[in-house]
Each structure stands twice: as C-alpha cells, then as structure tokens.
C-alpha cells in the first residue's frame, strides 16, 4: 500500500469498526428466518408518523444525512468531467454561507459511487479529500457476466483505487433457494476485494418476497459482506421502508449472534429530505445510534442532496429555496 493509500485508508470511517469476517453458512438459521409482509408494512407505514424532527434538529439531521450519502453517478454517458463535478460536490455538498449560518464546520458526503472506468478520474478529483470511492462491480447491474470476469472486475477496481466495491448478487441463487451457491459467490467476491470493503447489492425488487430478502441478507452477511444494500437503482422497485426494515432486522440479528456490526445502504428512490429523516429514524429505532454514521449507513442517491440543500436554506432564511441557488453536482 502506498503512503497516500494508507493515509486514505486510515481515514476511512470503516476503520472504526472491525470488519465482518463472516462465518460458516448456517442453513438452520437461514431456514428459521421469517418475514411477515403485512406486519412489516404496518410498522413501516407508522414509523414516519411516530418520529418527527423539527427546526434545528431537522437541520442537524439533514446535515448528518449528507455525510451518509454515496453521491452517485452510474450512467452510460459518464465522463471524466462529469465525475469531476460530482466529486467537487462531494467535497463541498452544502453552500458555505449556509454552513456558516448553521454554525457547522466542513462536511463531505460519505463517498462517491461510480463505474470502474470512472475510478481514476474520481481519484484525481478527490485527491486529498478523504472521501472514499465506491465502484459498482461484478457485471453491475444484472450480474450475469462470466463468474471469473466478475471476480476479475473486482480485482481491477481495487487495483484502480476503489475503497469500496458494490457487488451484485446472482438473484437466481435466491430465487432457487440455493443458499450455498449464494454464500460461495459472496465469499469469492469478498476475497477478491481484499482490503476494500464490500457492499452486497441484493436487488430486492427482483427477489420476490420479503422472506427471500431476509434470508439473502443473512447469507451475504455470513459470507462476509461489510454492507448489505437494497438495489442497483436500475430495478423497477428500489429501496422501500418495508425492505429496509427486513434488512436491518437481519443486521440486528446477525449482530446479536456474532457481535459484528454490518452496514446498511438503501439505494434508489430516496430523493426527498423527509425520506432521509425517516430512514435515519428507522436506523436509530431499529438498530441504534451507532448506525447513524457513514461507516455503517449510506444512502445510495443522486438527487437527494439537492432537496436537502433546499431544505437547509429554507431553515436558515425562512423562505422556500430553489434548486438553481445551489451548486450542480
């Protein structure tokens, strides 16, 4: 590891927590997992009404949400210039005068998230910024390229300087209940990541049931996932509160049994400041305050930041804001 790499790694928030080394696949445990959809939906529906955060507290929570955003661009037309602009936004996500009014020091987003070919431009743009780079990998978003190439893609991305790898699982292993295959796949991906942290994207919108989501979450954690993540953002249904509830309850149970904290990343569909607060409240209620930090919680989002910026300006000025008043990402 080079000096800069070491430096960056030392400042990664993940370093606060021992990594999840995983465990042997425990099929009895997997089989015992249940998820009652209607009860989960009821909890998810009432949660936003149970917790409300107002005024200064709301502003503070929104600032915290920003620090948990994986600021993302995953488009076919991404260029080095586009990624540089995104990285600039990641360094300075909120206008300085707003931060000053709120009495806040500098903050950054949790990470930037790009495709493999954009790692190098991102590294250049983030030089000295202590913002980790996450790369989506393993034939993202479908994950159906040859297995050895998917593993190789991870290795390439790590070599290119990605700090975090967002892998996609083979949905077919879940749909056919082939937990051993899912476990083995995840194990291989984790091994290929080396020091880089691995987020397992379950593509929950394609798993058919919340029970499958719960079981897949558990198997990925047993296989050593540092984070579990809902979706690629490319499925028709992405992060939802019921799915989130199932996944974070799986994280909680995994911690209860192993003592290891695994992170959670809802991705796709979270675009409003109010949603961000609901998610933070969900994490605080179901998992605890430890999960309100970027080493254990991330939003996979691209337009969320803009709404938060407008809300913050409204908080400071009392007047509703407009998007053109905030720097583009």
């Amino acid at each position: 590891m080079s000096t800069t790499e070491k430096q960056r790694a030392a400042q990664l928030p993940q370093k606060m927590e021992p990594r999840n080394d995983g465990m042997a696949l425990d099929l009895d445990w997997v089989a015992s997992v249940q998820a009652n959809t209607s009860a989960i939906e009821r909890r998810a529906k009432t949660l936003p009404a149970r917790r409300s955060v107002k005024k200064d507290h709301q502003a503070a929570w929104l600032l915290r949400a920003i620090t948990c955003i994986d600021l993302t661009t995953l488009a076919g037309d991404d260029t080095a210039g586009r990624v540089a602009r995104l990285c600039a936004k990641a360094r300075q996500p909120v206008r300085q005068d707003i931060l000053d009014s709120l009495g806040m020091g500098p903050i950054t987003t949790g990470a930037v998230c790009v495709y493999h070919d954009m790692i190098a431009p991102a590294r250049a743009a983030l030089e000295g910024a202590n913002i980790p780079i996450a790369a989506v990998s393993t034939g993202f978003p479908a994950g159906l390229s040859p297995f050895h190439l998917r593993v190789r893609e991870i290795e390439e991305s790590v070599k290119a300087g990605a700090d975090e790898i967002d892998i996609v699982i083979s949905r077919r292993h879940v749909l056919t209940q082939d937990w051993q295959a899912l476990y083995d796949e995840m194990r291989s991906f984790r091994a290929a990541c080396g020091e880089a942290h691995v987020k397992a994207i379950l593509a929950t919108g394609e798993l058919g049931s919340l029970r499958n989501v719960a079981r897949a979450s558990l198997v990925c954690m047993m296989a050593g996932a540092d984070f579990i993540k809902t979706s690629t953002g490319k499925e028709s249904v992405n992060a939802t509160l019921p799915v989130s509830l199932v996944m974070i309850r799986a994280i909680r149970e995994y911690q209860e049994r192993t003592g290891v904290r695994v992170g959670y990343k809802p991705a796709g569909g979270i675009s409003k400041a109010k949603d961000a607060i609901t998610y933070l409240a969900l994490m605080k209620e179901e998992l605890g305050e430890r999960w309100l930090a970027p080493d254990l919680f991330r939003f996979g989002a691209s337009s969320l930041l803009g709404d938060i910026e407008r809300q913050l300006e409204h908080h400071v000025t009392g007047a509703y804001s407009a998007s053109y008043r905030h720097a583009a990402g």
């Binding site: 998820a35 209607s38 939906e41 917790r51 503070a60 806040m104 049931s209 209620e285």
Partner: protein, 783 residues
C-alpha cells in the same frame, strides 16, 4: 443545543403539535360547559374540572347533570324520535354523512382536543381515533340508506341511553351514536367525566350539520349521572362500554325493566406467539397491543403467551424494543406513550403492580416527565396462570407473560380467563393460525396483527367481556327490534283434576332426560299431571337445582357437538323429524288430551316437524361473512355456537315450544338444557324418547320438567351456562336478567310478551342470531 451539537448527538428534540386552536375553541365557549339538550346548551355550572393529565392544567369547567336535566334530555330524545325515524333511511343518511364530513373538516381540532383531555399521543388521536370516527359515521350513513331495503322487518328501539368510557372518548361516542342514529333511534349520551370535551365539540358539530333538535343529547357528569340514565323509565335501551364491575351493576339495575342492553366490558386478551412466527414483527405488534393508548385499551393484548423454545429470544428482543419507546408530552409528535388519564388511574396501576411479588419485572429504562401522570412500559415474565396480574385487567402499559409448550396448551392458557374480548395469534403457518383462531374464547381474533378496528367488522366480547357487537351488519341488531306490536302473555295454568290412574291402566313413568339417559329427579318429587278432562295422565318429575347442575354438566361434556359439521347436524335434525313423524298421531292425541279439542294436537305436531326441517335446513346455511375492511386481507365474521344454552320453553305449546328452541340451538352447534312447558310437561319427556332413537349424542339436549320460577334462578346464575332464554309465561324475565349478572351471560327473555309460535315469529334468523356468537377473525395477508 447548537446544530453542531445535535449533529453529534442525533437527538430527536421536541416536535410539539400546536394546541392554540383547541384552546381557542374552549375559550370561545367560556371554558365552561352545560348539558347539550334538545339542540342547545344549558347554562354551565362549575361542578367539576376537566384536566390535562399530562400537566394537571385545568382545561374547562363542567356541569354535573341533575336528575331534572337527565329527564329533560330523555324527554327531548323521546319527542324527537318518531320524526327522526320517519325521516327515512335516506334522510338520516344525509345527516350522518354531514356529520362524517364535518368531523373530517375539523379533524385536527378534534385530535388535539382529545389528546389534551385524555393524554393519548397526538399520533394516535390524529391517525387512529379521529379517522375511525369518520369511518363509523360514513359507514353508518350507508346503513341508514340501506335499512329499508335490507332490514325491512326491523324498526328502531326508541331512545337509547349510552354511557361511554374515557379511553377512546370520541371513538366510543361514534361507535354508539352512529348505529343508533342510522337505525332511527335518538340518544342520550354520557361521556366519561374525565373526557367530556370532544363529546361537547361533537354536540357543536351536530348543530352545524343541521341534525334535528333532540336527536343527540349529551349530559356530563360522573357515575351518578350514568345511574340516572340506566334507571330512567323513559329509555328503551342501554349501551355501555366500561368496566366489568359497572357492567354487572347495570345488568342488575336494568333486570326486568324491559330495556335492551349491550355491554362492552373489560378484557385480559391473550397475545399468542408460536415459535414459527416472525419474531420481530410479533415484538413490534406488542407495541400496538399493550403500549397503544398507554395500555388503556379494553382489548389490549395484555397477556403474552410465548412458545417455550423462543421465549428467551423473544423476551430479550421485547426488552430492547421497550427501551426505545418514548414516554412524554402527548402533544409531541415523536411520543409513543402519553399520559395516564388521571392520577387515580395511575395510582390503580401502581397499586396492582406493586402488589405483585411473583415473576420478574422489567420496567423499561425510559425517561419519564417530572410532572404529570406517566408510567413506564413494563413487562412481567414468569407469572403463573393463577397470578392476580395474569387474571385481572391492569388497564395500563403493563404486559404480563408466560410460556406454553403446544398449540393445545396455548389454547388452554389463552382461554383460562373470565374474559373473552380479543386475541392475537402469531404464526407463519396458516394451518396453525386458522386452527387456533376459532378455538379462542373471544369476539375478535387478529392473526399476525393486533388492535385492528373498522366500522365494517363487529367488535365485542364473550364471557365477562360483555355481549353485543358494535360495527358491521352484526352490530345493527343492538339498535333494532322486529316490527310489530307485542301482546301480553297470560300465565298458563295446568289442568285441574283429581283422582288416580284409571282402573286397568298401566302406570307410565316419565323421567328427566339428562346426558342422553332418563334420570329420576334428584329430589325424588313428582307432581300429578291432569288432562283437560280432569283425569290423571301421569306423574311428572319435579327437577331441582341439582338436576340443573347435572344437566349443565352433561351439556358441557358434549362439547364435541360444536365441532360437528352443519351437514352432520342437519342429518340428525331431519332424522328427529322423521322419527317424530312416525309417532305423530300418538303425540297429537296426547296434546289434545292435555289441551282439549281434536285438531290442535295434529297441527302442533305438524308445525314441530316443519320446524325441525327448518333448522335442519339452516344448519349448514347460516353463513358468516367476509367483511370488506380497509386492509389487504379479510375480516371473517364466523358464526360460532354460543355454548351451553339454558331455555325455559313456551308453556302453551308443549311440543312446538320445546322444538322451537331446541332446533336453532342444535343446528348452530350448541348444547341445551331445556325446561319444558310447566303445565304440560309430559310431551317433552316423551319427545326425549324420540331423541334417544335419533342419533343425538348424549348431553346435546337435556330436558327438565318442573317449576319455571324455581329453576330459572339456578340456570341463570350457573357460571357454566353461556346464555339463558325464557319464553315462559311465569314472571321470571327480571329474575333471569338479575341472576345472569354473575358471569354476564347473554339473556333473551320475553318480558311477559307473547310470541306466535306456530307463525313465522316462532322461527328464523332471530333465533339463529341468539344461538350464535359472531367472531371476527382478521387475517391480513401478503407475501
């Protein structure tokens, strides 16, 4: 705290709902209220205070209604009633719709006022209570609209006295007022003394809606005012929601008055978690079960039963969840548990919990406000079924728990209670959940859920949780009666006579029929029965209280009858009819000998055979319903047998009277103890021999003969009898209602009114309704 500090701590901070509009409404009304009678408020007196339990502040001064004011309210309701009923279904529907709309338009004012007065979290009053209130008025606007078409034989009862509790002040008002008004009744309603304000705001809404004067009258005050309503001669029906102790007093006070009565009382509802349940969801469900409305919920899942294998995990997760509950200012939007309604209730909770020295108590380590009536969420594990806290309602945020091993044991423990209001069953196994739900003694069962309510699904209990249903089609019976003028029933006297058996005649031994066997009366007494011609026919046994005991025991033992299929029961009823038909002439001749004439006997036997066919027909056709409740799922309104029914049969029709009550009871799966016609007892005992040859399982039907006024009190007081019916010409309706208060069994008495037994009034849905309990089983689904 600075933003930076909050950024580090990530506290919630305060999120108060403004009470300004609610205070303005109180102030605009002079912060003092009189009674709402005949469309206007009487001058306010300052008799008692309405307080905010969260901080002790006075909200308003309220007046204790006087007897004179209650009289005025009843008179106003009486005067308004005929016109209100004649307004017709559509006319009433329009006004109920207007009320629903107005409640909706002022929903936040109602919610804030409710929270100020009661102490419940604003989230609950805003998201649960008030929307359900609207829903009840919309739903019953529809019932008013449909009444003439769908209930053509029903009419309003008249003036309804309604007494409601403090735990869901406006919601309980809606549950009572909406169906009463829909069916053409007028009401005199008394809110609980702690929580009168939303009822008074509702009075205001009634005026705004243009409701005719006198249709809704609201009187305020404590139990003394309630008693004035209960004892008022000008009231036709009492509907009460509250404690079992007060319900029992009301049952006694109204006994023999001819007032209709429905009671929705206390509970100690089981919350059963099987080892294959979604444990996290079941834990979360408890938050909605026992930490909903501070646990001040009659149907709260307050008795946790967990399968042994998962109990430790379950308790651990439950405790972790409890520690996350936020107790505090009810107007704060981030509060889960608000204030206990009053200091006296808080003291009662404390006394009960402190009086317990069993098990392990866990009080969640949550912050409580320094002032106001607050109590922490509490769990007590390891209690035995005998523990006081396992048996008695705490009515606070206190959950008691124990474990079970098998599904059968879960049912046994769940039903080991004097109450029977609601139950929850958590399992991912549909077979298991749908097997358990019908076995629970409860009026409502939630599968994988809890505390779900809707106007379309009836709510109410069995056992000492009361009787009657509120909501759904099944709730309308509480506010209607069959059309038609009742005639007084004359006491039927036995034939006079003297002398012994005619020379050469065989002595004929008539015995009681108990447990499928002919039984001599315990007391060893018989009485002579004379024919119309004054000659001795035979001796009839005189049953006593021990015979009642034996008969009830036999009936209780025949519980398998309730699990037979309707098809099986139909076959047996048809077979009884067949066997009776083959002896028709003999039965007819005996009836004629008792009653005189030559044709009445044959007509009665024919009517009895037809009636048996009627109930054989109904046995597999009195269907339940799948209610359209607003969830993804169904509420199945299942018709279940009441259990053991004691009935004092019509005196004038010795065979038809008996069969007319035996038929519906049997058809619906009940066991019965029938006390035969007092003046003509022999026909029933002869009929027992028909039963003996008709494959009727032992104990399903038991027949006693003797004095109705002697047997009725024993039957009505028997704790193992679930309902008592009386069609006797003896004056025993009051005695039965009075004695039934012991276990609050259902009663159906004639109040000295005659019934046309051979006619359509002698059979049909009225009997089937009385022979069944509606259990609503909520089954949410979705994968």
């Amino acid at each position: 705290m600075t933003v930076k500090e909050i950024f580090e701590s990530m506290d919630y901070g305060p999120a108060p709902e403004s009470a300004a509009e609610a205070f303005a409404w109180i102030t605009d009304n002079g912060a003092a209220f009189g009674q709402f009678i005949d469309g206007g408020f009487t001058p306010a007196r300052e008799n008692f205070l309405s307080r905010n339990p969260a901080n002790g502040e006075t909200l308003a001064e309220l007046s204790q209604a006087t007897q004179g004011e209650v009289d005025e309210a009843v008179a106003a309701a009486r005067k308004a009633q005929p016109k209100w009923e004649k307004l017709g279904g559509h006319g009433r529907a329009k006004l109920l719709y207007a009320i629903a709309r107005l409640v909706q338009k002022h929903s936040r004012l109602f919610a804030v006022l409710e929270t100020l007065d009661n102490g419940k979290p604003i989230r609950e009053s805003r998201d649960i209570d008030i929307p359900l209130v609207q829903r009840h008025f919309y739903y019953h606007a529809g019932m008013a609209q449909l009444m003439e078409a769908e209930l053509p034989d029903a009419e309003a009862l008249g003036v309804c006295g309604q007494i409601i509790p403090w735990n869901f002040p406006l919601l309980m008002l809606a549950w009572k007022v909406a169906p009463a008004l829909a069916m053409g009744n007028t009401v005199v309603l008394k809110p609980a003394e702690y929580t009168s304000l939303t009822a008074l705001l509702f009075a205001d809404i009634c005026r705004q809606a243009g409701l005719p004067r006198g249709v809704v009258n609201i009187v305020t005050g404590d139990g003394a005012v309630g008693e004035m309503i209960v004892r008022h001669a000008g009231i036709d029906k009492i509907a009460f929601t509250g404690s079992t102790a007060v319900g029992r007093q009301i049952r006694r006070a109204t006994a023999g008055s001819g007032k209709a009565l429905t009671l929705e009382l206390g509970g100690k509802s089981p919350y059963i978690v099987f080892d294959d349940a979604d444990i996290d969801s079941a834990v979360e469900g408890l938050v909605d079960a026992i930490w909903f409305n501070q646990g001040e919920v009659c149907c709260a899942g307050s008795r946790l039963l967990v399968q042994e294998g998962v109990a430790e995990t379950f308790y651990a997760r439950l405790k972790a969840r409890m520690a996350k509950l936020r107790v505090g200012a009810p107007l704060d939007k981030s509060i889960d548990i608000g204030a206990i309604v009053d200091q006296s209730q808080l003291d009662a909770i404390k006394t009960m919990v402190e009086g317990n020295d069993e098990g392990n108590l866990y009080a969640a380590p949550v912050e409580l406000p320094a002032e106001g009536c607050f109590y922490p969420p509490t769990l007590i594990t390891g209690l035995s079924p005998a523990s006081k806290l396992m048996q008695e309602e705490i009515f606070g945020p206190v959950l008691v728990a124990t474990t079970f091993r098998t599904p059968a044991e879960a049912v046994q423990l769940a039903n080991n209670t004097r109450y029977g209001l609601a139950a929850s069953v958590w399992s991912e196994n549909l077979n298991l959940a749908l097997d358990i739900a019908p076995k629970l003694a409860a009026g409502v069962v939630w599968v994988n859920g809890t505390n779900m309510f809707d106007a379309a699904a009836g709510f109410g209990g069995v056992r000492e949780s009361g009787f009657g249903r509120e909501g759904g089609w099944e709730g309308l019976g509480a506010y209607t009666r069959p059309k038609g003028k009742a005639k007084a029933l004359k006491k039927a006297e036995p034939n006079a006579g003297e002398g012994g058996l005619e020379a050469g005649a065989f002595d004929h031994t008539a015995k009681l029929f108990v447990g499928g066997k002919q039984a001599r009366p315990d007391g060893g007494y018989s009485q002579p029965v004379y024919g119309k011609n004054g000659k001795l026919v035979s001796q009839a046994p005189l049953a006593n209280r021990k015979d009642v005991r034996n008969a009830v025991e036999a009936a209780r033992g025949a519980s398998g009858w309730g699990r037979t299929t309707g098809h099986q029961r139909a076959q047996i009823l048809y077979y009884i009819a067949e066997n009776l038909a083959s002896r028709a002439e003999e039965f007819a001749a005996r009836i004629d000998a008792m009653k005189g004439g030559r044709t009445a006997g044959a007509r009665e036997v024919d009517a009895a055979i037809r009636r048996l066919f009627t109930y054989a027909a109904w046995a597999d056709k009195f269907d339940g319903q799948a209610h359209g409740v607003p969830i993804r799922g169904v509420a199945l309104a299942m018709r279940e047998p009441v259990g053991v029914i004691g009935a004092l049969c019509d005196d004038a029709h010795p065979l038809l009277g008996l069969i007319s009550v035996m038929g519906p009871a049997m058809a619906m799966g009940n066991r019965s103890v029938l006390v035969a016609s007092e003046p003509y007892p022999l026909e029933a005992l002869e009929f027992a021999r028909v039963l003996e040859t008709s494959d009727v399982p032992a104990g399903v039907v038991n027949i006693l003969t003797g004095k109705h006024d002697a047997l009725a009190p024993t039957l009505a007081a028997h704790m193992d009898v679930d309902a008592v019916w009386s069609f006797s010409s003896s004056d025993i309706s009051g005695v039965i209602e009075e004695a039934s208060a012991g276990n609050l069994k259902r009663t159906w008495v004639n109040n000295g009114q005659a019934r046309d037994w051979p006619g359509p009034e002698g059979e049909g849905r009225a009997f089937l309704d009385q022979a069944t309990e509606v259990k609503n089983i909520w089954v949410p689904y979705g994968e």
